[in-house]
């Protein structure tokens, strides 16, 4: 659905983006990751046509991005902002109409979302009469009111308590299931693992890592396995070395072992099961957070 091809952007002699490319597919969530100042916001602003790229292009459903396509995009910026003295209904009408909705559809969608997010009775209230969390909810609703085909969310969980964060998370997944392409920019790595199908990691204005979440984790595998067992495990085997061990009172123990790179899991499991009674055996893949820190540190 969204295709960013070799985009570069420079501000006052400083490169904000350097030959960045990414793809976001319909019905999937793409995590846009990167440390502060890496160029994520610059990229989002280019996708939403707030600024233009110096080089490269942005395609939306194969079409070069133009202002007529903006109504298919919903953008929730990290720095939230709505009119404080305006009623929720008037704001919905204003933003909805800017996105091409008519008055009736705006009203209908606002009612539907109000019911879904437990916001009934808020319509006539001014924004400054609501709590911060409520304001965040309103901002989210106004972003998705026009049923965007591409939804760009920059830190969507900021300001939400765990209960409301979960509600928003479920809504994002529902929108994904309904076919929207979602670009999620966040520093909350647990959200990335829970929500994203793919990730793109930008550092120092360049794309340094890209791919499906599981594939990326596989790519960064460290060949460590966690096992739960009964019996006496030696410190070293033919193809493995014990890294850590934890003894439990019920006779079941836990251990993490490291094996050689070309070692096959089945062979390793067979060797271990000859030594002890195995209750569970899982490969310890690095978390996205660990990959993020490692990659950014390496490239810096």
């Amino acid at each position: 659905m969204l295709s960013v091809n070799h985009v570069s952007k420079q501000y006052a002699g400083k490169k904000a983006l350097d030959d960045v490319s990414l793809q976001a597919e319909a019905g999937s969530v793409l995590g846009l990751l990167g440390p502060n100042g890496a160029g994520k916001t610059s990229l989002i602003r280019i996708i939403t046509m707030i600024t233009a790229p110096d080089e490269g292009e942005v395609l939306f459903n194969g079409q070069k991005m133009h202002s007529g396509l903006l109504s298919s995009i919903g953008y929730l910026p990290e720095e939230r902002g709505l009119y404080r003295k305006m009623s929720i209904q008037d704001q919905a009408l204003f933003f909805g109409r800017l996105k091409g909705l008519d008055t009736k559809t705006c009203q209908r969608e606002l009612d539907a979302w109000s019911e879904r997010l437990d916001m009934t009775g808020w319509k006539k209230k001014r924004l400054d009469e609501l709590s911060k969390g409520m304001q965040q909810k309103v901002q989210f609703v106004l972003t998705v009111l026009h049923k965007p085909r591409l939804l760009i969310l920059d830190e969507p969980f900021t300001g939400f308590d765990p209960v409301n964060a979960e509600i928003i998370k479920q809504e994002i997944l529902r929108l994904r299931d309904e076919g929207a392409a979602i670009l999620l920019s966040t520093h909350r790595m647990e959200s990335v693992e829970e929500l994203c199908d793919r990730i793109s990691l930008i550092n120092n204005s360049r794309m340094i890592l890209e791919g499906p979440v599981n594939e990326v984790r596989e790519r960064y595998r460290i060949h460590e396995f966690a096992l739960e067992y009964s019996g006496e495990l030696p410190r070293q085997g033919n193809t493995w070395t014990l890294i850590s061990q934890e003894h439990k009172l019920d006779g079941k123990h836990r251990a993490v072992i490291s094996c050689e790179e070309d070692q096959r899991e089945n062979k390793l499991l067979k060797e271990l099961s000859d030594l002890v009674h195995i209750h569970s055996f899982t490969e310890k893949l690095p978390s996205i957070k660990e990959i993020f820190i490692q990659t950014v540190a390496e490239k810096s």
Binding site: M49, I50, T51, S67, L70, P77, G81, L98
Partner: protein, 440 residues
């Protein structure tokens, strides 16, 4: 285009629904009418009911033995014989406004040394009146000494009025009065000046608020920054026009009512005329009431109103685009001051030029040039209009104004689109110039 309309509509509705707008719109004419009523009342009191002040004249020279000519507000009681000099330093007797002491060596050929003593300080007007009356009395004495009779002196009073008329190409004559022209032009120019500031500042505040509230990023992911800027400017313009229209209507009604009420109670035309004669005042030289009204009605109101609307709207659009660009470049409204002053210099300058150069010589080179430059023409051309401006000059000025507005709005929009997303950076003039050149 549709987006500009939505932004305009939002700006308009949000602003006209505000309590402050409703209060100011309703209160404005009341204040204006109140102010007008006060001036009218003061004028009437001044004409008809002003208290006559008695001046005790201690004439040691004997020059004014036959008295001093009274004015409408000051009557002179010459004391004869004059009291002892020791009493000169005493306050004036009860019932007197003050004591005018004419020294012994005072003569009509060397009229110096006169002093006035009073408990309250003498106003400029009263001092001037007193000097005028003394001069007039002395002048009359000198003329009598030269052998002229009192009747001859009266017959010397001459009043000449030159009626000014404009003649058109086809020979049609129109009554023309410089004071009326200057007044009409200056009122129009001053209103444009006032409204540009009043509503231009609202645009500036609105932009600064959107920037500091971070709404901008949400909005401009749906429309172009230019559309947002124009929508805001047009929305405030619509608010301004609404407010002005309501003010004009309400003020008209209120002033009519006040004039009627006060006028019927206090003004008897004959009495007013009498009061004016008594006071020794006359309508300004060259203006007789019928001539004044005739000149007023001879003004081309269609041209003036059309010119006012054109220069008000385009002038406001031009300046508010600059105000919007300034507000977009700073993080808070308080930082706008450094940019505001240079931008408003042409506006302030043109009102100064209008008051001096243009009114003195409305067809001069300077006036013509300033009425062509888009930054000064809304004010200067408005002052020139009642005096008659050649059609080609007016057309050229309007064309320049339209192109000036387009060019300045375009440049302002280029600053705006960059500035609106720039946070935490102290903008300088150099920076603003660089923003104009940025791509995309």
């Amino acid at each position: 285009m549709k987006n500009i309309l939505y932004v305009t509509q939002r700006e308009y509705l949000t602003r006209v629904r505000k309590k402050s707008f409703i209060i100011m719109t309703l209160l404005g004419p009341v204040l204006l009418a109140g102010f007008y009523g006060l001036i009218f009342w003061l004028a009437i009191s001044d004409m008809g009911g002003k208290e006559v002040r008695l001046v005790q004249v201690v004439d040691r020279s004997g020059v004014f033995a036959e008295g001093i000519e009274n004015s409408g507000t000051m009557h002179y009681i010459v004391e004869s014989p004059a009291p002892a000099p020791a009493k000169d330093t005493l306050p004036p007797e009860e019932g007197y406004y003050g004591k005018l002491i004419i020294p012994e060596d005072f003569s009509i050929d060397a009229p110096s040394g006169a002093r006035f003593i009073s408990e309250k300080s003498l106003s400029i007007m009263d001092q001037e009146s007193m000097e005028n009356q003394l001069e007039s009395t002395i002048k009359r004495m000198k003329l009598t000494r030269a052998g002229l009779r009192s009747e001859t002196l009266d017959s010397l009073k001459t009043h000449v009025k030159v009626a000014s008329s404009k003649i058109s190409q086809d020979g049609e004559l129109k009554s023309n009065d410089t004071m009326v022209n200057a007044g009409a032009g200056f009122i129009g120019a001053f209103l444009i000046y006032l409204f540009i500031f009043l509503y231009g500042v609202q645009v500036m505040k609105g932009v600064a608020e959107e920037k500091s509230n971070r709404i901008v990023e949400v909005i401009i992911s749906s429309l172009k920054p230019f559309e947002l800027m124009m929508g805001k400017i047009l929305g405030v313009a619509a608010v301004g026009l609404t407010q002005v229209l309501i003010w004009v209507c309400l003020s008209g009604v209120l002033m009519f009512a006040i004039t009627g009420v006060i006028g019927s109670q206090a003004v008897d035309p004959q009495m007013a005329q009498q009061a004016m004669e008594q006071s020794g005042r006359s309508v300004p030289p060259g203006i007789e009431q019928s001539g004044f009204l005739s000149a007023l009605f001879q003004l081309d109101f269609t041209l003036l109103l059309g010119g006012f609307l054109f220069y008000f709207v385009t002038g406001y659009l031009l300046y508010s685009a600059m105000f919007a660009a300034i507000a977009s470049a700073v993080d808070s409204e308080t930082d706008t001051q450094q940019f505001m002053f240079p931008v408003t210099i042409p506006l302030i300058f043109s009102i100064v030029v209008a008051q001096t150069v243009v009114i003195k010589d409305p067809t001069g080179t300077l006036a013509t040039w300033f009425s062509m430059i888009p930054l000064t023409s809304p004010i200067v051309m408005m002052v020139r209009l009642p005096f008659g401006v050649p059609g080609w000059q007016l057309l050229l000025s309007m064309i320049f104004m339209i192109f000036g507005f387009i060019a300045i709005t375009w440049l302002a929009a280029r600053i705006y689109r960059v500035g609106i997303l720039m946070y935490g950076k102290k903008a300088t003039w150099r920076e603003l110039f660089k923003w104009m050149l940025y791509r995309g």
